[in-house]
Amino acid sequence: MNGVRELTAAEREALVAVADVLCGGGALPAPSETRGYAEWLDRALEARADAFDEVVAAALSLDGLSAAGRREALRLMSIDQRPRFHALSSVVAGAWLLVPEIRSALGYPGQIAAPAAFDEAASQLETGILDPVIERGPIYREA
């Protein structure tokens, strides 16, 4: 990694525990059960190197809480400490959204090149969708 130090085991554990609360509980595997999450968490932290210390400290502050307690603490943080929660949730949840398995399950291909077919624009306009606007005629205000 560039720019940020390696996480300690305790820090990583705390961040994953937060991620499980924020992203787990649905139909998809929770971050702790998602293969590769740790590597993507490192990459997410690097992308938000500016917030590294804040994010790690926020996660550690919830250490020792039960899952329910951690969830309630995060809920309160989302209200009372919005910038802190924003940074923490962006990194740990954003990391989960980077995992290819999760992206695939969510139908997200990434911002890939998807060039339009040469007749795509014309075909859409040829459906007549613009006709009502044209039939209404000019609407501009004389000046």
Binding site: A114, A121, A143
Partner: protein
């Protein structure tokens, strides 16, 4: 190491207006130097090249210079402002981050005093500006569909439109159900290879830099042609002061390089293209003997009448997969239905609405952040993130009438990395603008409902959008009521020109870059045509 250059004209800023001016002058054989405080940014550097782009745009590539805090950025003091102006210091300026929505002002925008009894008329008309619009459009290869009934006859585009996509088709069907105006988007994004632009491949991250090099940011088009025509571009050059002599004429510009070296370019004329925040800042920084209150500021209007086009949005999420990650973004469609004053409204003027896609699952989460915790996080999270495929964003640019109390001043304590006073923005959203925003949130919600949205999320004000920085050195015929004339020439300093969004007399509601560049072309042509009449500064610079 200090450098001393000589040129016929020095242009300050290489954003859209600076690029057009520099190109136009160089192409006419004028010896021109363009000073840019930022650097070249290669499209391969943009965040969308990385999977974690949604995290990178939160800080490293943020629109807000106060968040990004890059080497070329200067801070903007905003503690007394309802909005946070955004900009990018780079070759090509903030156009690297714009959506390239290429929309012209309407004829009425130039005559709001005559038509609506508010603000002031512009000293020029839509008809006078139209040939310059048309020329810039051809150069850029603007894409769109001619014949928009919101405009007078004669508005055509040199390139065909981008597809509406599923997003645009659904939004348009909703507008048809309501019987309201819409039109396919006009964008300065190449549908096919054009000059130095590549073909759009719909990467969808236009507002954080086009990784394909298809969007007409002005580092990719106009500036390359300007350099080929002989213009000299100096990067990493933060202009600290426009020098003026004892006769009050501008003699050139001082700049500080990245090593802290102080440099000077002497010129017969100076053209300021530093945007609606940077231009008044520089004019105020350039106070001196003949200009004790700031250069070109005998009217006291330098920095005043700042207009920021407050934006409101309503994001709709639909049951169907709309491929909402797909670009361009860029406007998919726009609507001028409520652009004009109507007797039934409780406000004058109006707004321009447009549709954008909603790329990225983290963006879907961001859109839901103000929803109850349990509806976004935990078991709901994946479902909410998955809505990224089914979103449509309706956004409104509101007309933001000029008020002298909305202004840019020099902050008494905050400075940039070179020790220069930072700009302070004092800006409050007026009552008329508030009513426009409220009205449009309600209409955009109706538009989503008519199109079949399953849920909508309104945002009454985007505090950090858009980067429309207007009105702070406005043009006019009366030197007591304006800073420059209709050709951008300062009333007080006949060899000093302003050619950016600072010129706007009123903001209109259309995205301003098309108008900024048309004005810049008109001003540059005027400089060329009247070069022989330029007064010669008598004072040598320090």
């Amino acid at each position: 190491m200090s450098e001393r250059l000589q040129a016929e004209v020095v242009v300050i800023g290489s954003g859209p207006s600076g690029a057009v001016v520099t190109h136009t002058l160089a192409s006419a054989g004028v010896d021109v130097v363009c000073l840019e405080q930022g650097d070249w940014i290669n499209p391969s550097e943009f965040p969308a090249n990385e999977p974690e782009w949604e995290l990178l745009i939160q800080q490293r590539w943020a629109h807000d210079p106060n968040v990004r805090n890059g080497a070329a950025d200067y801070p903007v003091e905003v503690s007394d402002s309802d909005m946070w102006p955004v900009m990018l210091s780079a070759v090509g300026g903030t156009s690297l981050f714009y959506g390239a929505e290429w929309v012209r002002l309407l004829p009425s925008d130039f005559r709001v005093r005559s038509l609506d009894g508010v603000a002031e008329d512009w000293p020029i008309s839509y008809e006078e500006l139209k040939p310059f619009h048309d020329e810039v459009d051809r150069f850029l290869g603007v894409s769109g569909v001619g014949g928009d009934p919101a405009y007078p006859e004669g508005l055509e585009y040199p390139m065909p439109p981008h597809p509406l996509g599923k997003v645009g088709m659904v939004a348009a069907a909703g507008m048809n159900a309501l019987g309201w105006h819409w039109w396919p988007g006009a964008n300065a994004i190449a549908v096919d290879r054009h000059k130095t632009l590549e073909r759009c491949v719909r990467r969808g991250t236009c507002e954080w830099g086009c990784p394909a090099g298809a969007k007409a940011s002005f580092d990719l088009i106009y500036l390359p042609q300007a350099i080929a025509a002989g213009a000299r571009l100096v990067t990493g050059a933060r202009v600290s002061r426009i020098e003026s002599g004892p006769d009050g004429l501008a003699t050139g510009a001082h700049w500080i390089d990245r090593d802290g070296g102080e440099n000077f370019v002497a010129a017969k004329a100076v053209v300021v293209c530093a945007n609606g925040i940077g231009t008044p800042r520089l004019l105020l920084l350039s106070a001196g003997g003949a200009h004790p209150d700031g250069l070109a500021n005998s009217s006291g209007l330098v920095g005043r009448n700042l207009m920021l086009h407050p934006n409101c949005t309503v994001t709709g999420y639909y049951e169907d997969d709309l491929e909402s990650w797909k670009g361009p973004a860029g406007e998919t469609i726009h609507s001028m239905e409520f652009y004009e004053t109507r007797p039934e409204h409780d406000f004058v003027r109006g707004g321009k609405m447009n549709v954008l896609p909603t790329p990225g699952p983290l963006a879907a989460i961001e859109a839901h952040r103000d929803q109850p915790f349990e509806e976004v996080w935990g078991g709901a999270f994946a479902e909410v993130a998955g809505r990224h495929r089914s979103g449509i964003l309706w956004a409104t640019n509101s007309e933001d009438l000029p008020e002298e109390t909305n202004r840019v001043v020099l902050d008494p304590s905050l400075t940039d990395g070179d020790g220069l006073a930072a700009p302070k923005v004092e800006y409050r959203i007026g009552d008329n603008t508030r009513r426009i925003l409220d009205f449009h949130v309600a209409r955009m919600t109706e538009m989503h409902e008519a199109a079949g949205a399953a849920r909508t999320i309104p945002v009454g004000l985007w505090v950090d959008q858009p980067g429309h920085l207007l009105g702070t050195a406005r043009m006019g015929d009366d030197p007591a009521r304006s800073v420059v004339d209709s050709f951008g020439r300062a009333h007080d300093v006949p060899n000093l020109f302003v050619a950016d969004g600072s010129l706007f007399v009123t903001g209109g509601a259309a995205n301003p870059t098309a108008t900024i560049t048309a004005l810049a072309l008109r001003i540059a042509r005027h400089i060329v045509a009247t070069a022989a009449e330029l007064p010669t500064p008598s004072g040598a610079a320090a």
